[in-house]
Structures are given as structure tokens and as C-alpha cells.
Amino acid sequence: MSASRMIIFVLRRLAGFAVTLLVAAVVVFFLLDLLPGDPAQFILGINANPESLSQLRAQMGLDAPAWQRLFIWIWDMLHGDFGQSYTQNAPVAELIGERLWVTLPLSILAMIIATAVGLPLGILAARRRGKFLDTGIMVLAQTGIAIPNFWFGMLLVLLFAVTLRWLPPGGFISWGEDPVAAARALVLPSLALALPQASILARVMRTALVDVQGQDFIRTARAKGMTMGEAVWRHGVRNALLPVLTLLGLQFAFLVAGTIIVENVFYLPGLGRLIFTAISQRDLILVRGATIVLILAVTATMLAIDLLYALVDPRLLSGARQ
């Protein structure tokens, strides 16, 4: 494995990432700018007066041909300019930026909890295969997968906020005002998001590790003088992580999108609330920007896991395993 191979691999993945984003931008543009016919009319409704219509048209640059508008939109976004929200009278980038301070920490916290809970439980179940503990963990996981995260959020509020009064039931105080309160507000939502993910991870990790335990190199490690437990720990877990990582890429990507559902339970001022308001007010420019940011978050997560995979599996870079 040479450094140049690594660079080529990373560049290829980055290129794929860029192409996905570009095509996604074209699709979003087509849906939100071309399909409605006249976006200005769409935003203002049928009864809009001609003056404000032409004003909005000028503001949105609707006189230019479509391909030019697409190009300008993408070009501006690359420079951090997502346009001006018509309904909120503020730059879209600023509106989204504020909300990301809730949505991003929430999804990252949920990913950390899901991994920290799911993987060890999966390993434990695999090591105690067929025993009571294994059955118990797998029943829990089977249930955890079936619980809608937003409903679990409601149950958490009932228990920890209403009954025990340990944590706030909802709402958010900004990080600048009271960082501790802000963090406390994110605990229950991130637990709600993490539950199904942790369950899936536990199941996949268990399956992968059970598979690996039967592999020849585990026998080799034992022949060298390790117990089964030591062999699995030193050689099994890392190998078992490969199939887990593949799934993790998709799961965590969707977790980012799922955040906006759970925000609703806890009245969190995240990206979700912004989007729902924008939809009901037909603010195409805001929806467009927010959608692109969500897609960016999803694809960036997938990219990160892809690159992580290459770090774990040396075969990927030498082309021995495609």
C-alpha cells in the first residue's frame, strides 16, 4: 500500500461526493424552480398583485434562462450565499446556520450514543452466544428496531421529564446563553434517535462477530497461545467491524435526516422546524437551501464512513477487494 494509492482513492471518493452533490443540486433545482412554472407566482399565490410579483421575479433573477440561474445558484452556494428568504427576510445561509447549532450536535451525539451502546452489546451477545444474555440482548434489539424514535422520545419525556423531573421536556436555550442547559436539552432527543440505531448495530455486530469467530485466523491466534476471548478481542473485532461499517454509513446518513422528526417531539429550534415553516409558507428558496444542506450532511456522512473503511481494510487500497 503506497501513499499515492491512498491519495488516488481519496480523490476518487471526493470526486464521487462532488458529483453526487452536483446532480442532487440539479434535481432539486428542477423540482423547485422549473416544475412550479413561475416560482414567484408559486410563492406569492394566485392573488398576488403584479407589482410584488415583478419585484420578486427581479429579486430571484427569474428573467435569466434556467441553466444560467442553476449555474448562478450553485456558484453562489459555493461561496456560502444561499440566497435571501422571501418570508423571513433574512439570508438563507444565516437562517440555516443558526439551526445547525441544534441539529448537528444532536445527530453527532446520537451517533456517539448508538455506537457506544450498540457495538459493545453486539460483542457481548456474540461472546455469550446461545446463553441467556445473548437472548436477552437480541430480544431488546428486536424491540428497539421496531420502536419509532419519535414515540420513544415521548416515552422518555414522560419518564425523565414529567415523572422524575431530571431533564427538561423540550425547548432549547441557546449555547451562548447557557451551554449546560443547551446540552441537557439535547440528552433525551439524542437518546430517542440513538435507540433504533443502537439496536441495529448490536444485531449486525453480533452476526459479524459470530461469523468471524469461525474464521481460520482466529484458530491461528489461539494456536499462538491466546484464549478464544483474547483471539476475538485482538483479531476478531476489527475484522467484524468491516460489514458493520458498511451499514453504519447508510444508517448514520439517515439518522441525520431523521433528526428533523425527533426535533418535533422536543420543540427544538432545529433545521426541521425551519423547513416545516418554509413549506407552509411556500418559501421555495429556503426549502431549496435547507434540502441541499440536508443532502450535504447525508453524503458527507457516507463519505466519512467510506474513508474510515479504507483505513481499517488495507485490501481496499491495493485493489485486491473491490
Binding site: 453526487t20 419519535f150 449486525v204 418554509a278 426549502v287 435547507a290
Partner: protein
């Protein structure tokens, strides 16, 4: 078939999902009370003989609502599976049968669609056409396409290396004929198992979308929509959200048990592989 009856979790799963499907179907012709009947005088009733699961804030019978809501959830998820399998399986088969540029295109397309989780598609469609159950069907269905394409391609690729496919090719069969006469029948069981799993994931996804107002709209109802209505009241009347939530959990567990069981019965080699479904 005999193996199926020795698999307790498969029977349990099939029976429970069958029961809920039956309740849902019955709601077409009969519910204890009409679901649209509002009667403020009898709101927030506790479970009783007259109202098995009690009534909601508008005096509607919760049992009737859950029955009708289950039907919507099942229909949305089933149509989404139909879309996903209907488009995804041919794509996956084509990728396996043709290989080369076709395979490349299918793989890139499926990677691309994965960048659009159901929530994002639902946001886009709702912005354009307003919220409706059709949004949920489309959003979940589109997400299902690459899932089925990958499963079909993976299954077909492992069949394709077998000698009887080479024999068929020597006999002069073209790619389409091979794909549909030889590959498809052999991956049908895989597709059925994946279909069961996607059905359960679809029910979860429908609930999520309807809960945030991007899916089913009143006067129709779905399990997710009942939860949305209960949202503002759940601190005072938790049972309003417990009942539909539990219904979702039971249906999804039942479908997953059925899916895992089917996988074991159809292909014993895959036993203990555990479901690796991806949530939309």
C-alpha cells in the same frame, strides 16, 4: 413447508401480522364507531366495554381509529414496497445480466438515490403538491428502489456463476431471457424476505412522515397521524399516544419476526444472520 411449522417465531410473526392486517381490512366495512364521528361530550373516556381503548380529545373511538390507521399504514407501506420492487428488481437483474456499463449505471444510480432519504423526498414533494398520503408512498417507494436493486443484483450475481446459466447462454438465450427465466425465479425468495423487511420499515417511515405532517392528512387517519394528534396532549393523556405507538411496535416486530423466519426457512444457510434492514 413442514419446516415452517417448526419455526415458532415465524408462526408468531405471521400470525400477529396477519391479525393486524385482518383488523385493518375489517375496518373497510366495519369499525366499532365511525372514525369521523366527533362527540365532545364523550372525549377522554377511559377504556370500557363501550370503548375498548377509550376515546380521544374529539370523542372519537380509539379502537376504531387504530383499526383504520393500521389499514392506511399497511397500504402506504405495501404500495411503497411495490414501487421499490417493481422498479428495483428489474434494475438489479439488468445490472447482473448485462454487467458492464449497465451495471455501472445501476450502481451509481442506487448510490445517488441513497443521498435522498424518505424525509428529504417527502419535503420536496410536499413543497410542490402539499401534504398527502401519496407523498409518503412516493418518498418511501423511491427509497426502496435501490434497496431492491442491490438485493436483486447480489442474488442474481451469485446465481449467474452457476453452470445452468452458462448452459442457457450456450443454448442461445439472450440477457432478458436469462434474467427472467433463470435469475428471477431463483432470487424470488430473497425478494420476498426483503419485501417483508421493507414493509415493516415502511410502516415505521409512514408513521414518522405523518407525525411531522408530511404524510397522511385528516380526515383519513394512520398510526403516525394519531400520534401527531396526541402529541399536544400526551403529557395529560399518555394513553392516547401509548395505544397507537404500541400498535406500531407490535406490527413491526411481527413483520420482522416473519421476515427473519422466512429467511431461515427459505435458506437455512443464512440462519442467525440477523436482519440488516436499513431504515428509510
Amino acid at each position: 413447508m413442514r419446516r415452517a411449522f417448526r419455526h415458532p417465531s415465524l408462526i408468531l410473526g405471521l400470525a400477529a401480522s396477519g391479525l393486524f392486517a385482518l383488523l385493518a381490512l375489517v375496518s373497510l366495512v366495519w369499525t366499532p364507531y365511525p372514525i369521523a364521528e366527533i362527540d365532545i361530550g364523550r372525549r377522554f373516556l377511559a377504556p370500557s366495554l363501550a370503548h375498548w381503548l377509550g376515546t380521544d380529545n374529539l370523542g372519537r373511538d380509539l379502537a376504531s381509529l387504530v383499526m383504520a390507521g393500521t389499514l392506511t399504514s399497511f397500504v402506504v407501506a405495501a404500495l411503497a414496497v411495490t414501487i421499490g420492487a417493481g422498479l428495483g428488481v428489474p434494475l438489479g437483474l439488468a445490472a447482473a445480466a448485462w454487467g458492464g456499463a449497465v451495471e455501472w449505471a445501476v450502481l451509481r444510480l442506487s448510490d445517488f438515490v441513497f443521498a435522498f432519504p424518505a424525509v428529504i423526498v417527502a419535503i420536496l414533494i410536499t413543497t410542490l403538491f402539499g401534504p398527502s398520503a401519496v407523498n409518503a408512498i412516493l418518498a418511501i417507494g423511491i427509497f426502496n428502489i435501490p434497496v431492491f436493486a442491490r438485493v436483486a443484483r447480489g442474488g442474481a450475481l451469485s446465481i449467474k456463476t452457476l453452470d445452468f446459466v452458462a448452459a442457457a447462454r450456450l443454448a442461445g438465450l439472450g440477457n432478458w431471457a436469462i434474467a427472467f427465466r433463470h435469475l428471477l425465479p431463483n432470487i424470488a425468495s430473497l425478494i420476498i424476505v426483503q419485501g417483508t423487511i421493507q414493509l415493516s420499515l415502511g410502516i415505521l417511515a409512514e408513521a414518522g412522515l405523518s407525525y411531522i405532517g408530511l404524510g397522511t392528512q385528516p380526515p383519513a387517519t394512520s398510526l403516525g397521524l394519531i400520534l401527531r394528534d396526541a402529541q399536544s396532549l400526551f403529557l395529560l393523556h399518555p394513553s392516547l399516544s401509548l395505544v397507537p405507538g404500541l400498535a406500531i411496535v407490535i406490527i413491526v416486530v411481527a413483520l420482522n419476526l416473519a421476515g427473519d423466519g422466512l429467511r431461515d426457512v427459505i435458506d437455512p444457510r443464512l440462519k442467525h444472520q440477523g436482519g440488516t434492514g436499513v431504515t428509510p
